[in-house]
Symmetry: C2
Subunit: 135 residues, 2 copies
DNA sequence: ACAATTACTACCATTTTAGTAGGAAATGAG
DNA sequence: CTCATTTCCTACTAAAATGGTAGTAATTGT
């Protein structure tokens, strides 16, 4: 039931960009130093966030990343789901379009798990990046 | 953010005992067959539940396990936490008696994570074993 | 005595996590 | 135009966690 470093680091990157960015491009080198996260690992995480459209990037000297939107427009849940892949507590909750678990007919717990998935997502979706910065 | 097989299997064992037990001792062999879970793996999980006092056991022929209480007295959250170890989304939330994360002074997210921990535990604690059986 | 069952402990293959590593492509500065 | 700096892309890897297997001792009813 743990959030991996990818999820935690992703939030820290977003918080860092929101706090120190001010609309300018920030190099990963700087974020890496401030947040004490290996730059090569950061690259991978930021790449995912970038492809998802949450960041703007620029190469070359003076390059870096910046937020694509303002902090209150980022939903923490969206960011976490993007880098973590999925947050469903059990696999069957993630099943789609008609696929069902082989045990589904005798399963007593599916509604319990779906409910857990719901409260988790509802909670993390109730936070924006701005909320985190203001802590 | 996944619940491991230990947690899922533990719930299925408890549900099985509640459904087929009727106060009698049920051998793991039977539960293993009904639930299609390897008996040797079940032994480990059930051992944890037994040591926690949730089950009564008897050795020898006609031996097995039975619930130590009635289904409505079991809290699903308690069972899950017992077999899964901890359910905290990030390590620092589990810290106790004064131990703090080295980043705690610059951390914006601790309250967010604590809140997540709370909604998860509150939800799973709102279910009893009886609730699951009645699904 | 013996078959059936729990109790205990060690081991192990696979998957996931948390990185490392190397180089290509782009970009601004000089 | 060249060079330092930075993102972009892909492959690799050590360590930990997961999901079991395996063997054997102890207990109990028949």
């Amino acid at each position: 039931m743990r959030i991996s470093t990818k999820g935690r680091y992703a939030l820290r990157v977003m918080i860092d960009l929101a706090s120190f960015g001010n609309g300018n491009f920030i190099a990963l080198k700087d974020i890496s130093q401030r947040q004490n996260i290996p730059i090569k690992y950061l690259e991978q995480i930021v790449s995912t966030l970038n492809k998802a459209g949450y960041l703007n990037s620029m190469r070359g000297s003076n390059g870096g990343y910046r937020l694509a939107m303002s902090p209150e427009e980022y939903n923490v849940g969206t960011v976490l789901r993007t880098v973590e892949g999925t947050l469903t507590p059990v696999e069957c909750v993630a099943y789609e379009n008609g696929v069902t678990c082989p045990r589904s007919d005798s399963c007593n717990s599916i509604n319990f798990w779906k409910g857990l998935d719901e409260v988790v997502n509802k909670y993390i979706d109730s936070y924006t990046l701005k909320d985190l910065i203001q802590q």
